[in-house]
């Protein structure tokens, strides 16, 4: 385990794993992250390469602890009650070699009334046979707010299996806004399984965006249970598949309490010989709850394409722009 105090930041030193850190920072940049942000003393940071913790930097009110496992890391992340974290907490996970297994077991405890944002970047730039498993337990306390944005960067080989699993509990009045984006590089195989429980007046928003090509596979399993009075939930999925890629989206929204309001919104664009399926399941156990869903699967709308062509884009450019914008 590595824990470094403010002003003594790990990043920027040159210890034995400096080369590995440099490779991770390159990958982090490719994943959309800003390596300079990781060097700021006021930014809480956790950097894990394979099963090696390269940096763990806590700040007042935000405690990051990480210990290596045989094939990954166990991390505990605690945000003290009523803490307002000014800068997003940066998490950087990755596997640099072409082969390897990384299992991240993460416990997130967001104290009541706290407000915090996490930016997680996961990079696997050289993956030929890599497995990345994420098992997260997230507890958002009463009136707390957690925004968790995870973005992946995979290489072009598709040799990667990504298996994120999250159990999320949002206490009364709490808010959890989560996004998962995998739109750069090949997906490989992605199997997500998220389950969220929302208490009274709580909010859960889950946004997933992915762009699959060649023989990539996407399987998304998502359940939001609106258990408390006036709980609100939104599941938004934007997936594009081309080549022979396959996408399957299974979302469940339960309205289990008076005033609960939930909505599932799925758009999947299919090109070439790709296939996409969406199975929304609406379950309502309280007569004063309301859950709705909408889904659109298929080709890009012709009028959208022609509008962009009328600005001078050719058809392929228009389709690509529409898809890129949708999954941005």
């Amino acid at each position: 385990m590595s824990s470094i105090q403010m002003g003594q930041h790990a990043i920027g030193r040159a210890p034995s794993w400096a080369g590995e850190m440099e490779a991770m920072m390159d990958a982090y940049r490719q994943a959309g992250g800003d390596p300079d942000a990781l060097k700021l003393p006021e930014v809480a940071t956790l950097v894990v390469s394979g099963s090696q913790v390269l940096a763990s930097h806590s700040i007042p009110g935000v405690h990051l602890e990480a210990e290596p496992l045989e094939q990954g890391v166990h991390a505990r992340i605690l945000v003290e009650p009523n803490t307002r974290v000014r800068y997003p907490v940066h998490l950087c996970f990755g596997v640099i070699p072409a082969e390897g297994i990384q299992q991240i077991e993460a416990e997130y405890e967001i104290g009541h009334g706290a407000q915090v944002e996490f930016l997680a970047h996961c990079s696997f730039p050289n993956a030929l046979r890599v497995e990345h498993r994420m098992v997260a337990n997230i507890h958002v306390g009463r009136e707390a707010r957690l925004t968790y944005s995870e973005e992946h960067f995979h290489g072009q080989t598709g040799g990667i299996d990504v298996r994120p699993t999250s159990k999320i509990i949002v206490e009364d009045g709490g808010q959890f806004t989560g996004s998962f984006v995998l739109t750069r590089g090949r997906i490989g195989s992605l199997e997500m399984d998220y389950v969220a429980d929302a208490g009274q007046d709580a909010l859960v928003e889950l946004v997933t965006k992915a762009y699959g090509s060649e023989d990539d596979k996407v399987k998304l399993q998502e359940t939001i249970r609106l258990n408390g009075d006036n709980a609100r939930g939104l599941s938004k999925t934007r997936i594009a598949v081309k080549g022979r890629a396959i996408s399957e989206v299974n979302t469940t929204m339960e309205g289990n309490a008076p005033g609960a309001r939930g909505h599932m919104d799925c758009t999947e664009i299919v090109r070439d010989q790709a296939m996409a399926a969406n199975n929304p399941l609406v379950k309502v156990t309280n007569a004063h709850a309301l859950v709705t869903h909408e889904a659109a699967i298929g080709t890009v709308n012709r009028k959208e394409i022609e509008t962009l062509m009328a600005r001078g884009l050719d058809e392929a450019e228009a389709v690509d722009l529409i898809i890129r914008a949708m999954i941005r």
Binding site: R238, T267, N301, R302, K303, E304, E306, T307, L308, M309, A310, R311, G312, L313, D314, E315, L321, I322, R324, A325, M326, I327, R328
Partner: protein, 260 residues
Amino acid sequence: MDEPFLIIEDLSLRKSDRWILQNINLSFYPGKIHALLGLNGSGKSSLAYTIMGCEGYTPTTGRIILDGKDITHASITERARMGITLAWQEPVRFEGLPIGKYIGLGAGENNREKVIAALEAVSLPVKAYGYRPVDQTLSGGERKRVELAAVYAMQPRLAILDEPDSGIDALSVVDITRLIQKLANQGSAILLITHRPELIGVADEASLMCLGTIVFHGSPMDANRYYQTRCQTHLDTLGNQPWTPATLAGQSLDQERKTG
């Protein structure tokens, strides 16, 4: 008047065993505004899509000539790159596409200044709108303004504006009128499809369509008068509805029947 750069020559379009357009002849001149009037279903939008080259709107007969070159079968992209563009009556939304980027698509390289000028031309503050997506969060009126800004930024040779005033408030009509005049002053020819008298007033000439044909061509005032008092077909189709100012031009309906 200058020579026309774009000529629609004896254009007809047949879809599903029905003539949508028949024997349309029009000419477009740099900097001139041509208003196109007509009731719903008279073929105005179909003509717009045919000139733009939209899918399903390839002319059955006739030609579209640009600078002496037959572009009847050119793609939309080719036409756009030759300077023809269209603002749809009900513009589509693009999830995630920033307004600034959308407007800049047709404006060429180093288009930042053009994007800013286009947003200002439609009275949308750059700071508030430049990075907003062209999606459902925009009102109908805002979306129309964005569409016009995209056309304005292109500085096209021909801008086809399909009812740019529909679904927007009267104040916005003033902005739109100003924008159309600005476009024309910069040398763009404009095919302006509209029902509003105040917009018709900015046109240099006008045509009236009925059941896929042009039944009148002349000054905007005359075309509007003819439109308001209706031709025979309008009467047959709609009968005497309250809005008909039958004596608007000092003509009786019987006279209209004869001229229609």
